[in-house]
Symmetry: C2
Subunit: 327 residues, 2 copies
C-alpha cells in the first residue's frame, strides 16, 4: 500500500477544542498552550475565533490571545518583521508576523475578518455545512446564504494576502437530516472554491462516519478537486475517526484536522470524544513511516498542561497510555 510520505496536521485544539469547554480558561493559559503546541512542531494551529462573544464565550478573548502571543514571541527574540518595533497593538498587513507558524482563526463574516486582520492573522477559516437544516440552525441562513456572506470575506482576505479555508460541517451525517449525499458536498465545495477559497475541510461533525462513508465521499470529491486542497476533519464520537483518516490516507489525502489530547469532546455529552486526538494520529502516522513533524512527547506535554488547567483527563487514548510506564 502506498501512503503519502508526509501529512499536514491542522491543530484545532485551541479553537474547536476549547470552544466546547464551559469552564473559563485564562488567556495566558491559552497562549501557553498554543506556544507548547508550536514547540511540539505543530505548524498549522487554529488559535481562536472572531465571533460574537455571546455565541462562543470561551473565545471572546480572541484579540487578547493574539496580542499576548505576538508579545511573547517578540520577547522570545523571534525577529520582528521590518518596520515593526513593538507589540501590541499589531498593525495591519505586517507580513507573516508569527514567524514560520500558520496561526489561523475562524471568522464568520467580514467583521470577524477585519478584527482578525487587526490582530495580524494571516490564515482564516469560514464555515458552512452540507446539510441545509444544520446550517440554518447553526448560522441562521441557508447554505447559499452563508456562501454569499463569504464573498466579501474572501475578497477582503485576498486583497490582504490572507488565505481562506472553508469548513463544510455535516459532510457525512447530519443530526437532523441523517446521511448527506456526496453530491451535496461536491456542490458546496465547488461553490467555495469558486469564491476563491484555497482549502476545503470536510467535517464529520457528529462523528458518525465509517470508512465506507469516507470512501464513497472521497471518490466523488477527489474526482473533482485536487487532493491537496481537501482536508478531513473527523470527530471520534463513536471511535471511528482514526480508521476514517486511514481510509483518507489510502486515497491520497494528506491534510487532517485534529485536536491535541482530543480536547473539546462532544459539546453535548460529558466524557464523550470530539475531534480526533492529535496524539493518536501522530502516533499512528509516525509508526506508519508517514512524517508529521510533530514531537509526540512535547505534544503530550501540551495536553497534560491543559488537563491540569481543566482538572480532568482528555480523551486521547495515546495520552492515557503515555502516563503508564508499562503500556
Amino acid at each position: 500500500m502506498n501512503y503519502p510520505d508526509s501529512v499536514r496536521i491542522i491543530e484545532v485544539g485551541p479553537r474547536d477544542g476549547l470552544q466546547n469547554i464551559k469552564e473559563p480558561i485564562e488567556t495566558k493559559h491559552k497562549v501557553s498552550y498554543i506556544e507548547m503546541l508550536a514547540q511540539a512542531g505543530c505548524r498549522d494551529i487554529e488559535i481562536t475565533a472572531f465571533v460574537h462573544p455571546k455565541l462562543i464565550p470561551q473565545l471572546s478573548d480572541s484579540v487578547e490571545v493574539c496580542n499576548l502571543l505576538h508579545r511573547k514571541q517578540a520577547e522570545s527574540q523571534r525577529p520582528l518583521p521590518a518596520g515593526i518595533n513593538s507589540v501590541p497593538p499589531v498593525p495591519t498587513n505586517v507580513g507573516n508576523y508569527f514567524g514560520d507558524i500558520n496561526y489561523s482563526a475562524l471568522v464568520p463574516n467580514i467583521k470577524g475578518l477585519e478584527r482578525a486582520i487587526e490582530c495580524g492573522i494571516k490564515d482564516v477559516a469560514v464555515f458552512t455545512a452540507a446539510s441545509e437544516t444544520f446550517n440554518q440552525k447553526n448560522t441562521n441562513t441557508s447554505i447559499d446564504g452563508s456562501i454569499e456572506r463569504f464573498r466579501e470575506v474572501v475578497n477582503l482576505a485576498r486583497s490582504n494576502n490572507i488565505k481562506v479555508r472553508g469548513y463544510i460541517s455535516t459532510a457525512f451525517y447530519c443530526p437532523f437530516e441523517g446521511r448527506i449525499s456526496p453530491d451535496k458536498v461536491v456542490d458546496v465545495s465547488a461553490k467555495l472554491f469558486d469564491l476563491g477559497i484555497s482549502e476545503v475541510s470536510l467535517g464529520d461533525t457528529i462523528g458518525a462516519a465509517v470508512p465506507t462513508d469516507v470512501e464513497k465521499l472521497l471518490e466523488q470529491v477527489l474526482a473533482r478537486f485536487e487532493t491537496n486542497t481537501i482536508a478531513l476533519h473527523m470527530h471520534d464520537t463513536r471511535g471511528t475517526a482514526l480508521a476514517n483518516v486511514v481510509q483518507g490516507l489510502r486515497m491520497g489525502m494528506s491534510i487532517f484536522d485534529t485536536s491535541a489530547g482530543g480536547l473539546g469532546g462532544c459539546p453535548f455529552a460529558p466524557g464523550a470524544a470530539g475531534n480526533l486526538a492529535t496524539e493518536d494520529l501522530v502516533y499512528t502516522l509516525e509508526k506508519m513511516d508517514i512524517k508529521t513533524g510533530i514531537d509526540l512527547e512535547k505534544l503530550s506535554q501540551a495536553s497534560r498542561f491543559m488537563e491540569n488547567i481543566l482538572g480532568y483527563s482528555l480523551p486521547s487514548r495515546y495520552l492515557h497510555a503515555s502516563k503508564c510506564a508499562k503500556c
Copy 2:
C-alpha cells in the same frame, strides 16, 4: 472495496475484560452480564478462565459461573440435552449444554481443561506468545515449552469433542523485545495448528500496532493459513484497534475478539483502554453493511449494567455517545 458480508465477534469481556479488574464482582452479576451479552446476540462468549485462583483472583469463581449459568438457562426453559434432567452439577460430555451459544473458557493446562470439561464447557482457549521474554514472564516457560504443555490439552479436548483456540500474545510488539518478526508469529501459529488447534488469535497485547503492522503480519500469516482460522485480538491502548481491524477486514479477515464497553482497560494504567470495545466495532461494521448479529442497544445495556456494578465509565466511545441524546 470488498469486505466480508459478515464477521464472527468473540466477546471476551467476561474473561479478558474482567480479569484485569481488581474490585471483586459477585458471581451472580457476572452471570447476568453474560446473559445480557447472549441476549444482545453474542454467539461466542469467553466467560471465564480455569486458572489458579492466585493468578487471577477475579476469575476464581469459574465453576460457580458455569453452574449458575447452566441453572439459569435450564430455568429459562431452554431445552436440556437428552438425559440431562437437573443442574448442577453438570455431567461430563453432555453435548452442547449451553444451547446455540459458544461459551468458552481459557485453560492454561490439562488441569484447567479437566475442570472446564466438568463444567460443561465445549470451547477452550490456550495461550502462548510470539515473544520468548513475554512468554517466559507470563507463563514461566519458553514458547516451545508452552506448546509442549498444550499437547495433552489438545488431545484430551479433541477426545471430548472440544475445540481448542490458541492465543498468541505479543504478535506485533512486546514490552520487552519491541517489534516482533512476522516470521516468529507464523512459526508459533504453525506449531499450534500442528497440534490440532482449530483457530489462532493474534494479539496486540500492548496495543501498539498500526495498520501497516497488521498488513505486514497478515501478508505472511494469510499466505500460510486459511483466513477463517485466524482471528485478530486488538487492544485499543493507543486508539489504533479499530483502524487495525479495518485493515484486517480489507485482507479478508472475519474473526475479531472484542470486549463489551472496552471492559478491562489496561491492567497497568487506570483509565487507559484495553480490548477494542465491541460497541465501537459493531457500530462500524453494521454501518459498513457487514453483519455481526449483535444488537447494539442491547449490547450497550450489558455494558451499562457492568458500569453500574463497577461504579465507573467504560472506555467505549460508542457507549459514551449512546448516553447523549444529541450525538
